[in-house]
Symmetry: C2
Subunit: 434 residues, 2 copies
């Protein structure tokens, strides 16, 4: 049998071009990347059909990656807008994007996103399946696998599949303050109760794996029972599902299919480290892809911040990829400015963890901007910053308010409007003679 997937190649001992590219980006040895891919601790989502892909690696020995969710809803957005969101997300530094469209033209939007994106593209196939039926209870495994296959053929690099949620877990979730907040999880649970049948993806997991192996689609095992509020975090429902997911991780690896695991959700600060360790141990080091986590429920409008706090802690304690949360979370579908705010907040979280974990060259950018600050070189400060446009804007606004010199004279002005020249600590400390 030909080795189709990065995992199969790595197990065989081959270092693929994708592994070499990941090694170069991460300042690591290609053989190390191969061995981690072989062990399942790194995944390289790279569908054969996604020809313009610039591959990246996801794993706890690599820099922390971030994902931006885009896609329309039944109530909002159009295909053009989604490409504009893609553009902003990539420019601000998203490492992967998920197209979560649930409105019109799902297939067409996805096609154009895959075509335009050098970053790996992920989806949640059950969303498209839902759009194809009048009543969600009419979904069946043939429809689900048809959607998965069609998306795989289009070049989708990874897919969220809620295969770990079983019938026996549903009563555990019904006890919660917020029951089930995952869309795929809620529909699957309702479907199982309605039909008195087991989770169709769980029952037909081998057929799913066959498609994924053929196209090298990386599976992202979704946590349909992720907690939706602090009160529900780290409960029986969450961990019962994780146990099943851990078994499915092994099935994926045996089938040569790359796999990562999705994680919570809403988690208080004191439970984050425990959650990261638990996944790592149960799932034998499968990359953990976490949503936030949000560390407080009471800040709608600011959940990019609430979750950046949890995400930084999560990455510091071992998460490999962080799914962004935008300021519009819990309130509506993100617009372009929300995408920008979400991506930057999560770049900060990922970068803070990478610096703390002493990833190769992680602090170079910080040191460069600090040197530029000391030299009052504003242009360099902007250029080394995560969002140069925003930093420039704020500085220009501050100068205008105080009617200081125009920006074209600004390159070396030796103070800012925060302190003014007399109180500038940098200016003062440069005057100290030794």
């Amino acid at each position: 049998m030909r080795e189709n997937t990065q995992l199969e190649k790595a197990v065989k001992g081959d270092i693929s071009p994708e592994m070499r590219e990941v090694a170069a980006k991460e300042h690591l040895d290609p053989e190390f990347i191969r061995s981690e891919v072989a062990a399942g601790r790194i995944v390289i989502p790279a569908n054969h059909t996604h020809t313009n892909l610039a591959p990246i690696g996801i794993g706890k020995s690599l820099t922390t990656k971030i994902n931006a969710n885009i896609g329309n809803s039944a109530m909002s957005s159009c295909p053009k807008k989604e490409l504009a969101k893609l553009d902003v997300a990539l420019r601000c530094g998203a490492d992967t994007v998920m197209d979560l469209s649930t409105g019109e033209n799902i297939c067409e939007i996805r096609r154009s996103i895959v075509a335009a994106s050098p970053a790996p593209v992920g989806t949640v196939p059950i969303y498209e399946a839902l759009s194809l039926v009048e009543d969600p209870m009419l979904i069946d495994i043939e429809l689900l696998l048809k959607v998965v296959e069609q998306q795989a053929k289009q070049g989708v690099d990874y897919m969220t599949i809620h295969a770990g949620l079983l019938r026996e877990h549903v009563p555990l979730a019904m006890k919660r303050l917020m029951r089930i907040v995952s869309r795929g999880g809620a529909v699957t649970a309702k479907w199982m109760q309605h039909h008195q049948k087991e989770n169709p993806f769980h029952e037909n997991f081998d057929r799913l794996l066959e498609i994924c192996q053929r196209h090298d689609v990386t599976l992202s095992l979704g946590d349909g029972l992720r907690p939706g509020c602090l009160a529900d975090s780290s409960d029986d429902a969450q961990f019962a599902e994780l146990q099943v997911i851990a078994r499915l991780v092994r099935k994926c690896r045996d089938a040569g299919v790359q796999v990562m695991v999705e994680g919570p959700g809403h988690v208080p600060l004191d439970q984050i480290e425990m959650n990261m360790r638990k996944e790592d141990k149960l799932c034998d080091g499968a990359p953990f892809y976490i949503l936030g986590p949000v560390v407080a429920d009471c800040a709608p409008g600011y959940d990019h911040i609430t979750s950046a706090i949890g995400a930084a802690m999560g990455a510091f304690h071992g998460a490999s990829m962080l799914c962004y949360v935008t300021p519009r979370e819990h309130l509506g579908l993100p617009d372009i400015e929300d995408v920008r705010q979400g991506v930057i907040a999560f770049k900060i979280a990922a970068h803070a963890a990478d610096v703390a974990l002493k990833r190769p060259h992680a602090r170079d950018r910080d040191d460069a901007i600090s040197r530029a600050r000391m030299a009052f070189d504003w242009e360099a400060q902007f250029n080394f910053s995560l969002d140069p446009e925003r930093a420039r804007e704020i500085r220009a606004q501050s100068l205008q308010e105080t009617q200081q010199q125009p920006l074209n004279d600004d390159k070396k002005s030796d103070h800012c409007t925060m302190c003014g020249p007399k109180y500038c600590s940098l200016k003062t400390s440069l005057e100290i003679t030794e």
Copy 2:
């Protein structure tokens, strides 16, 4: 001798009205508050002259407090604007405010802030001293103490004094990438080198204590050598100053003066816990009042987020008060919207830590908003959120974009624009019959 300060009263065994008020706010026993104040592990900044004060306690056994810096600079702002900033800061939940004015009308601005603020007001007296001399090198101890006394008489509740920075520390700071980024620290260092004399506040600490004891001004021992970038964090300069500060903490307590300790600055995630423990140990549990810390240097325009991450970690590991950082940090003087963004980001950090530390009733608000989410009660969601105005605004905007029903019909609409009705996980999971 009459007991003038909360510390003296507590040591004598008296439970003051201020201690009772703090106990009620924190759901704790008044005698516990007294014993912690007596031990110096809680401070209650409450100048006798600040008559409209609603006292709060600061200490690691209490809810995490946040401070908002306001005040003008030589280049920007006017007295009216500072009162507007005070108003926004208090409305968004700042527990204390510092007036850091360095421009015109310093004395008048401070008077109006103290008069208008039920929250404790802090200052950095060396800023006003600097405004009174042509050349910073003309400052002397008589001027400094005169300013301190005048501010104490006006009702300032706590003052940042950089008394721990000694001449021998300056060469350590000169080795750094960013030398000295504290304004008070930089001027003090330059003054010591210029005059070849020791730190005037350190040399005349007893005279300072006498004023503070008389008015019950709480000292906040400033970290003039706080690191200004990740490269400089936790270095010899920082910890040499902290050793001196620890000695001064004991002098304060012996003199009956309440004291807290200021902390870094720029600190990578992996060093935050160590920094919190070190201060606690060296300074015998004196409340740690930290600035941020910023956990990455490369996000100007977003430093409220960079520092909220550090602040949440800091509070979780024992910091008692968090000094906010606004989006304009490193770029200019914050305006009113920056104050709002900074305060909310830090309320999130403080709250996340309080939930994680299981402070009494800390999670009530989160549970209430989660119940409101489950009931699709949008009004209740707004009312329990940290910034109801902002949450309302975003929801209204989302509804408008999708031309949904107007807001007055909104109280019970059973989905949002993120998912729409068909994909709403809450709606779906409420439909699951057991």
